[in-house]
């Protein structure tokens, strides 16, 4: 094969912060003391925290060294299924840091916040058009909070109709967040199995949908990377029994400009701006999880809502049916800026092309790796494809082993052991921003790993070899948790 991306180079050891400092150092330019000291009641004062004192160079070296122990999208392909690790445009970071945005105070009178309000107002309209839904809230701070918002909306809507329902249908392919979010609303999740083609059948939903069921939570495209082809019939069925349809839009990256989500009959949809709309993942956050709804749910959206009057923007609390507030202020504006800038840079053709190429890349990977890994659902996929370790398990090499070995070749492993319905799942989402050459290298690496699994399983079981640490002992960490130094 071509020369592997993965190599080793010099990285530096770095102790914990508090193993470094020396009393009297400082990395902070303290503002001038231009007022006198005023004593505070001793009853109220404490000793202050035990932090190490460091100089600016100490802090800079510390975090620079730490950063070099991370893999990231800017360094290479990160095909983590369901997470949409696409390239994060650099210009968006610059916009988020603009003085007027970064320095905007949320409690300013609206007349002084027109720029932030306009951006959010326009963003709501853009997301409504992209999804084909009617109204949008930007308040949820992440996808999971968007799900909770969706559940709360359904709950409030049904309460307003004197419908008190206790169950919610959740397919076996769903993220664990779905049942967890439903439980926060007091709903008991009722599982429903997908069919042999990996999607939901109308019959399966028919069997569990009853008058005590609030509705269904569907991820579409689902976590097997397949479009729920029966979605329209399912939404009609659920509606006919008084239920509502929640759609987890985590995989929206596959269908922008192609699918009209409103037309599929769903009532609520959440988006992940950090997946579909290129805001960076930040090592686990912050994200942003806007929720889009059909007209009948609009009165229940969180407050405050942004309204426009003669070209001026202001907040309104005047929605008596609202589910209330979900966020201390109005959502993760700092993330919304980046997604807004992405949409404006892409335009309608760009977004559509992004989805098309995301699907092309995933199908290309699927085609090239089928036969190398076991492919449980053999049909064209959307933005991601799901394999399993069935071929390798005979030689006692697992998905985990192969994931670790991929690191040595310079790739972040795919999502593993999810979705749960595929034993030993390997879920690959290349995203549209990987070039053919990059993907070919990844495919080459996967083939090499599969080959090694047969010929030299011990090598795989002892991987990774080139990372800062060898395989970590997660058992010891959980048996005796040490969460602070």
């Amino acid at each position: 094969m071509a020369e592997s991306l993965g190599t080793t180079g010099l990285i530096l050891n770095e102790p914990l912060l508090w193993e470094k400092g020396k009393k009297g150092r400082s990395a902070f330019s303290l503002p001038r003391r231009d007022v006198e000291s005023t004593p505070l009641d001793e009853e109220l004062t404490g000793d202050g925290p035990d932090f190490p004192d460091l100089s600016e160079i100490d802090v800079v070296r510390h975090y620079t060294r730490l950063s070099q122990w991370n893999f990231c999208v800017d360094a290479g392909m990160y095909p983590l299924g369901s997470c949409t690790m696409k390239y994060n445009p650099k210009i968006n970071e610059k916009y988020a840091a603009l003085k007027g945005f970064a320095g905007a105070h949320p409690m300013l009178p609206p007349a002084l916040s027109q720029g932030t309000l306009r951006l959010m107002f326009e963003m709501e309209r853009l997301l409504a058009e992209i999804t084909g839904m009617d109204a949008v809230t930007l308040q949820p701070a992440a996808g999971a909070q968007g799900e909770l918002a969706g559940m709360l909306l359904i709950h409030a809507y049904q309460q307003s109709k004197d419908m008190d329902r206790s169950k919610i249908i959740v397919p076996d392919t769903a993220h664990g967040t779905n049942p967890a979010s439903a439980a926060l609303c007091g709903y008991r999740p009722v599982p429903v199995k997908s069919n042999q083609n990996g999607i939901l059948s109308l019959e399966a939903v028919y069997e569990v949908m009853d008058e005590d069921t609030a509705g269904i939570m569907i991820t579409n495209p689902n976590t097997l990377g397949l479009f729920e082809e029966n979605i329209k019939a399912i939404t009609e069925l659920v509606h006919s029994k008084g239920g509502q349809v929640y759609c987890d839009g985590a995989n929206m990256n596959a269908i922008m400009g192609m699918v009209h989500m409103g037309q599929t009959g769903i009532d609520v949809l959440h988006l992940n701006l950090h997946k579909t709309f290129s805001a960076p993942h930040g090592g686990g956050g912050p994200g942003s999880g806007p929720v889009c709804v059909r007209r009948h749910l609009e009165p229940f959206l969180p407050v405050p809502r942004i309204i426009e009057e003669n070209g001026n923007f202001t907040f309104s609390e005047d929605f008596s049916d609202s589910i209330g507030k979900l966020h201390a202020f109005y959502g993760n504006f700092g993330v919304i800026i980046k997604a807004y800038s992405y949409i404006r840079a892409m335009g309608p053709q760009g977004l559509k092309k992004a989805s098309q190429l995301a699907v092309l890349n995933a199908n290309y990977v699927m085609e090239q790796l089928k036969g190398v890994f076991h492919l449980p659902y053999e049909k064209p996929c959307m933005h991601e494809c799901v394999f399993s370790d069935k071929f390798q398990r005979a030689g006692k090499v697992t998905t985990l082993d192969m994931a670790k070995r991929l690191m040595d070749f310079g790739f972040h492993p795919p999502t593993i052991y999810f979705p749960l319905i595929v034993d030993g799942a390997i879920m690959i989402e290349p995203t549209e921003t990987e070039s053919r050459e990059e993907i070919d290298l990844f495919i080459e690496a996967c083939k090499t790993v599969a080959d090694e699994a047969e010929k030299d399983p011990d090598l795989i079981r002892n991987s990774p070899q080139k990372c800062k640490v060898k395989r970590m002992d997660e058992t010891a960490a959980a048996r005796r948790p040490c969460l602070a130094g």
Binding site: Y417, E474, T475, A478, R479
Partner: protein
């Protein structure tokens, strides 16, 4: 993971579909997790124990065992009162892996209805069930 033939399942235990075992000693009994279940879960990192004195029916949840990436509920093989819990598991949950049928016992109970024992599986039937699963 172990092949079925590699499992160590004592003859003198009763087994349940949820992979608990029970060792009857008069009116009392010890209850734990089978070799098969501990092997499937992997390294056990935490065992959530009931309180002695709790009275639970057959099939009721009496605790959970956790590995790094899974949680399994534990169900009463027969109804009864919890007499004692294996507090050594608090510090050494790994005993459930290394000695599942002896030192890794989880609770001791006083059975409320000895007749319930009759419907438990013996080693042979349990193995047969596992072969069906695998």
């Amino acid at each position: 993971m172990k092949e079925i033939s590699e499992l160590n399942l004592p003859e003198d235990l009763g087994y349940t579909e949820d992979h608990e075992w029970i060792r009857v000693e008069g009116h009392e009994a010890a209850v734990g997790l089978t070799d098969y279940a501990q092997d499937q879960l992997g390294d056990i990192v935490f065992v959530e124990l009931p309180r002695p004195g709790d009275v639970l029916g057959k099939g009721e949840e009496f605790g959970t065992v956790e590995s790094v990436k899974a949680v399994a509920e534990l169900y009463m093989p027969v109804g009864g009162e919890v007499l004692a819990v294996n507090t050594t598991l608090e510090d050494s949950p790994g005993l459930v892996n290394t000695n599942p049928h002896t030192d890794g016992w989880i609770i001791r109970i006083k059975q409320s209805d000895p007749d319930q024992l009759d419907i438990l599986m013996n080693r042979k039937t349990y193995l047969k069930m596992l072969e069906g699963v695998a």
